[in-house]
């Protein structure tokens, strides 16, 4: 199987005042199409930094990221934005919805950015919201939705452009256990039914258990790979 997403020797160091903090110290990984990969590690292990680099939001100091065999280092800021828009969906711990927009408008936003007509993008947004089970909440603003519902909206937004890969940063980190479980199930279902590729960074063993593969990240290095396996 060819790798959809590939990272080679990723290094990234942050400067905190005068102190240099190495976040990633040479991460190499591959994600195949249709896989559900968990990057598991305690907080401060560099999970979020890795996800930002994998999603083209941040540039590594060293190493390269390839998506569909194209290296991110060959792309300029505009082309990277285009890749994020068409090929990548992001899901964040704090949902990161625009508070002034309704669920529907939030979900529709990537299509608006992609110049899709309003009529078409609204249609598509409704369809995706139905898929995540929010068809009757779509005219509510984020403040009127529960945490779990907000995260469903965020997942719907990540899916609307039919991305090759969804990158999720602690998607259950801000939810109670039961709701978190529902979100995990939702992602798992999308993975199985639609063969949607997921890369999820988490320190929640529940998610990790559900992944096809678990990459253990510790101090900026991948320390081990486990096969997941608990099928729902």
């Amino acid at each position: 199987m060819t790798a959809l997403l590939e990272a080679r020797g990723i290094k990234k160091t942050y400067r905190m005042g005068r102190v240099l903090v190495p976040a990633l110290r040479g991460v190499t990984l591959e994600v195949a199409e249709g896989e559900f990969v968990a990057i598991f590690g305690p907080s401060g292990s560099g999970k979020s930094s890795l996800l930002h680099v994998l999603g083209g939001l941040d540039k590594p100091d060293e190493g390269e990221v390839f998506m569909d065999r194209i290296s991110f280092s060959t792309l300029n800021a505009n082309e990277l934005a285009e890749v994020r828009l068409r090929k990548i969906g992001f899901v964040f711990q704090f949902f990161n919805l625009l508070p002034r927009l309704t669920a529907l408008r939030n979900v529709e936003l990537p299509l608006a950015l992609a110049d899709v007509s309003e009529k078409e993008s609204i249609e598509k947004a409704k369809e995706v919201l139905r898929l995540v089970g929010l068809e009757d909440r779509m005219n509510h603003r984020p403040s009127e939705l529960s945490g779990g519902e907000q995260q469903r909206v965020a997942i719907a937004r990540a899916l609307i452009n039919d991305p090759k890969i969804v990158l999720a940063d602690e998607p259950t980190g801000n939810l109670d256990t039961a709701t978190g479980w529902e979100i995990v199930q939702l992602m798992k279902r999308l993975n199985e039914e639609k063969r949607q590729t997921f890369v999820v960074v988490t320190h929640d063993p529940n998610i990790a258990e559900n992944a096809d593969r678990i990459l253990n990240l510790k101090d900026g290095l991948i320390e081990g790979v486990k096969k997941g396996g608990v099928r729902l």
């Binding site: 505009n78 934005a81 285009e82 990548i88 992001f90 950015l113 110049d115 309003e118 452009n161």
Partner: protein, 425 residues
């Protein structure tokens, strides 16, 4: 993102910050109204002054006087041949010479009246040069001009409107004339008897050729009294004012340099007009400072807005918004503020101009008599001039200023690092 979406998103954003948006827009409104108010008032003032001056001057009559301002007076006055030469210049309809007699006093019985300007003219020619100003209220130019024919300006005959006329047609009037002599006191007074042939209508409009204070006697009579054939000035009529410049040049060419001056009312008016135009531009540029201040207000508020929305910008960038998209989103807001502010500003500007012209009209009430200002002169009222190109220009100018000042914060937003922006609390 499509343009329509940019503007609908922008207006949505602005609606959420109603107070802030209205205050920012208010700045633009004030700036644009100040510009429009001053410009339209200035233009109105210019139009009024120009119209007033055109009334005061006969645009198609040139005045030739001896001497120039810089080279001093010409020693001699105009000879008969010179007057004839002037009348033969191309495009001259008619030229007539005037001999100025200066101060004279008129007596009738026990009544006396001083005349500021007594002039000796050829009545028929003079009437041809000034058909609109040499008009009679009583009598007229007699068919056969006698040596003792006298024509009085309106104000000469009615120095005080409340009192009865000084004289009527066919009345006999004694004129006391000062005649220069070669012996001390170098002037002698002589009395001549004249018969009033006509009384001029009130000119009403102020100006240099306001004959209300003039009295006229025949040129031939004056020549006999003063024993000279020369004259002091020549009035030249041209078929239309556009020809006045070229005719003036041709007349100047008849004389050696710096010997004479040709007064061209049209060029005088044009100069005053261009001065007023500069004043108008000056006023408008001062008003533009207000718009500049509004622009800085926009820059300020947009910078704050970018800071507040840092996280939102991070989200947009994460889901694939390009720098250009973010830039346009913020610019769309400044464009809307600029457009709305300028449109409202144009309307309030004209409103303000009308209010100001109402207040100002009180200051232009006539106060004293002068050649330009007679009690009959109506008070000067300034009507603000509405001009569509000006209004459109102001709207474009206002919007462009807003875009320019919005550019810095919008670029700042566009250049935010997505990861940093997402972390921003």
């Amino acid at each position: 993102m499509r343009w329509k979406r940019f503007f609908s998103t922008a207006s949505e954003n602005m609606k959420q910050r109603r107070l802030r948006t209205s205050l920012t827009t208010l700045g633009v409104i004030i700036g644009i109204s100040a510009i429009i108010a001053l410009a339209s008032l200035g233009e109105g003032f210019r139009t009024t002054v120009k119209a007033r001056m055109e009334q005061g001057f006969e645009l198609d009559v040139l005045t030739v006087i001896p001497g120039t301002l810089f080279a001093g007076m010409r020693p001699q006055r105009f000879t008969e041949i010179e007057v004839k030469n002037v009348s033969q210049v191309a495009n001259v309809s008619i030229a007539t010479s005037v001999m100025q007699i200066g101060n004279v006093t008129l007596y009738k019985g026990d009544k006396e009246v001083s005349v500021f300007v007594a002039a000796a003219v050829n009545f028929t020619e003079f009437q041809e040069v000034f058909p609109d100003r040499f008009r009679f209220e009583e009598g007229g130019v007699p068919e056969h001009v006698e040596n003792d024919t006298l024509i009085l300006g309106h104000k000469v005959n009615y120095p005080n409107e409340a009192e009865p006329a000084f004289a009527h047609v066919n009345d006999n009037v004694t004129v006391t004339v000062k005649i220069p002599t070669t012996q001390y006191p170098y002037v002698k007074l002589e009395n001549y008897n004249f018969t009033v042939a006509g009384i001029l209508q009130k000119t009403g409009t102020p100006g240099l050729t306001n004959f209300d204070y003039w009295a006229f006697i025949p040129l031939d009579t004056a020549r006999k009294i003063y024993e000279t054939n020369s004259s002091d000035l020549i009035f030249v009529r041209v078929p239309n004012p556009e020809l006045s410049e070229s005719v003036a040049e041709d007349i100047e060419d008849l004389f050696p340099p710096y010997q004479i001056t040709v007064l061209v009312p049209l060029s005088f008016i044009q100069q005053v007009d261009s001065i007023l135009n500069m004043v108008e531009i000056f006023l408008t540029s001062i008003a533009s400072i207000a718009l500049l201040v509004a622009g800085i207000g926009i820059m300020n508020i947009m910078t704050v807005s970018v800071m507040e929305r840092t996280r939102e910008i991070g989200i947009l960038k994460a889901i694939g918004a390009k720098n250009r998209t973010i830039l346009t989103m913020f610019l769309a807001e400044t464009i809307l503020i600029g457009l709305a502010g300028s449109l409202i500003g144009v309307l309030t500007g004209y409103g303000l101009a009308h209010a100001m012209s109402y207040v100002l009209s009180g200051f232009f009430k006539p106060r004293q008599d002068s050649a330009f200002h007679t009690p009959e002169t109506p008070g000067m009222s300034i009507t603000p001039v509405f001009s569509l190109p000006w209004a459109a220009g102001a709207v474009i100018f206002g919007t462009v200023v807003c875009i320019l000042f919005g550019l810095y914060p919008a670029r700042k937003a566009a250049k935010l690092d997505p990861v940093e922006a997402l972390r921003y609390e």
